[in-house]
Symmetry: C3
Subunit: 318 residues, 3 copies
């Protein structure tokens, strides 16, 4: 693998998930692979799981992680070409990406959507600029429109917890949240579930007006009745996102959509998933996240193996 910008960079989702499950049994077996290699973790946004699990994955592979918080420890980058840089931005990404490529063998980037300018967010300004100018592989630690390390962790978690059934029903459910959140996790989960080689039945449920980018959800059933959507589901994946149509707006905070036992009762004893951090009793009721069917902690644990299998594939190709 030469990069990991979206789930589509994986040769095969299911195969990769199975490889990660193997790796998890003996995570230190490839420590020679990353020896004397550095990974630069560039954070344009805050992070907990991604920050720690990606470092852990790199250490498991013998790599040296170097963390940099761009805002607090560096300065603002310019992403547009040809500008006269006489305002607040001190360095062009063209230099930054080339320079960092000389210090790090892999560059990992977290840069959320600003949720103000749809075209800019869709263009993946930061990630695409690093992809363009970096001379080493780039790893997406959540960008404007995708969070593929999360989606792979999700695939691993589904693989580990799936019931013995011919066709799994996987439901992505919007839930309320007080703040405007990006679409990255929802997008990447949908893309993963729709592209998964096992052929899931994918249902996405949300209030009207919360449709995700239709390009990301092609092949999924959109169901505006949440309880109906949950019917006989095997996995409930919950996540808030702001409106895509009325870009970045919070149009609905209807607590009826908070995941509770009411909706879970409709499922076929479904597992409950969420990428975390999660706001309890807003996104999901305590009764659900604290239930035996909740696998959010196991899911977070798989962030290490998701990152590690991806880094392994990239290292093997260096």
């Amino acid at each position: 693998m030469k990069q990991y910008l979206s789930i589509h960079d994986l040769p095969n989702i299911k195969e990769t998930a199975l490889e990660a499950i193997e790796l998890k049994k003996n995570p230190l077996q490839f420590q020679e692979l990353g020896k004397n290699k550095t990974i630069g973790l560039l954070f344009f946004n805050n992070s907990l799981r991604t920050r720690l699990s990606t470092q852990k994955a790199a250490l498991n592979l013998g790599m040296e992680p170097i963390v940099m918080n761009f805002g607090a420890e560096g300065w603002q980058l310019e992403f547009e070409d040809g500008t006269v840089m006489d305002q607040g931005k001190s360095e062009h990404v063209k230099e930054a990406a080339q320079v960092i490529s000389q210090y790090c063998d892999i560059i990992a980037i977290r840069a959320f959507a600003g949720l103000e300018d749809k075209a800019k967010d869709e263009a993946e300004e930061v990630l695409e600029a690093f992809k363009k100018y970096a001379t080493v592989p780039v790893l997406n630690m959540e960008s404007s429109v995708g969070h593929p390390l999360q989606a792979l962790a999700d695939a691993i978690t589904i693989e580990e917890h799936k019931p013995a059934k011919k066709k799994l029903k996987v439901v992505l459910s919007w839930a309320p949240h007080p703040r405007a959140l990006p679409h990255a996790v929802g997008n990447s989960f949908a893309e993963m579930a729709l592209a998964h080689e096992d052929g899931f039945e994918v249902v996405i449920t949300h209030p009207k007006g919360y449709e995700l980018n239709p390009e990301k959800t092609k092949g999924a059933t959109i169901e505006y009745d949440q309880d109906k959507a949950f019917k006989d589901a095997d996995f409930i994946y919950t996540k808030n996102w702001s409106s895509y149509k009325e870009y970045g707006k919070v149009a609905n905070t209807d607590t009826d959509w908070t995941i509770s036992n009411r909706q879970m009762a409709e499922t076929d004893n479904a597992k409950f998933m969420h990428c975390l951090p999660v706001r309890r009793n807003v996104v999901v009721a305590d009764e659900v996240i604290d239930s035996e069917n909740s696998i959010v902690i196991q899911q977070a644990n798989n962030r290490t193996y998701s990152a590690q299998i991806v880094l392994k594939k990239i290292l093997e190709n260096l």
Copy 2:
């Protein structure tokens, strides 16, 4: 050892101090013990000595330290159960602690007292929540009411610098400070000195109204006359704290209490100790901290060995 939340988690203070002194002679002798183990250093407050010495201790043991500044690099945690998390807090400690436990073999936490809500501070909200939910050992890097890594460093320092006497007189003296400071260091020093197997004479001196939590100082002599308290002392341990009774208030900034040669002259050639950082000529006069009797730098050095002996004991028990 399964955790280090307070000095009382040590099997024996003096023995541990002596072990640390042995370790100091050859700090790299247990490098295999921590190999492929990570320690997550979670800072909810700023730090210099603790930040650097705990990393150094971990490295000496072959561990990989991963540092996270919760405020600046992550987000606010919710600590109360059952709340509807629709305000400023993005993640419940229940998830955070369980998740971090999957990435780190030991979790170290710094979380100061807020000094606004006595009951909340006394309950050690942050530390206790991590203790409750973490599935790996927790290390206290200074909490609301205690700083046991400092207290152990203090015990090591006393062991190294004590005169040949049957019974040492150890004095904990309040000193003025412009800001309201927590009680953690004073508490833990008192607890250590009172529990020390050598049986110190422990005198605590401060203006009226600055009494520490009486549960922490049981067995100590409280003396409101500072000069009298210093009489024939072997160790003067100075630290400011805000009022415990009028919780978090700064009721007195009487510069008469600043440690100077006047009070030190009363002692039996006592060593001067302070945990640092210290405000010169407010807490202590230059003439004292710059004197030969000042051992504050040696004391700070022992922070490495205090952390290292504790980590060693925890690692041996993993």
Copy 3:
């Protein structure tokens, strides 16, 4: 070597540059040298190249880098002696430097000029205080008046890219910038070029009023006509700085001084150099920095080998 505070701490600039070029061919050959040694990177100001390349250099030598951002992660230091520390500063550098020396084998410091108090900046308050109180070698990662790691990287870059000529003409050219910038890079480049054993012809060009500290530029030709200065040059080194005379003022933002093909056409096919970060189309036109003659990326790469050769020399002397 016992420290690296200025380019004059090098025994021989050219020799050191040649050694660095050798090291670059096999950067991991001295990994045993730094084993079990820590370098504390103390940032009083933001950084990208210095932050990453110094860590990379340390890792190449087998060292453990420990990064600390003093402002955000620690607290303000007092640098004056004898003050009553009852204001915003929590710790005296006298303690901080001694203490950190016990945790780190080398202390590296970045502390820019404040550009408000010339005498204070010239006194190198932060660097000199650490030099005075630290008990381990100190490395300058850019101070008020110098950036010697950059200057050595510049010497390496010149060595690698110089044409076969008897006497090189090296031009340091001021260029406009919207903000007031320090003199450190300009100073150190001038010092390096003037002290270089090959005997460069050194020309410095800037608008009147932008003269650098004459002590740093003794032996250089000052030429106020930029185009004339560029005549037959082999290397153009561009950098903005604020006024030294009217200390810290931005007296001129004349875009005529922006480096473009116009001035470059005067040179003898000169290479274009800049320490980065650079504001495109303010300091330098896209047409120049994007040209084949621009070696700014290679120059940034040499920051690793500049730091590594210096650290190697310091480690050999520990």
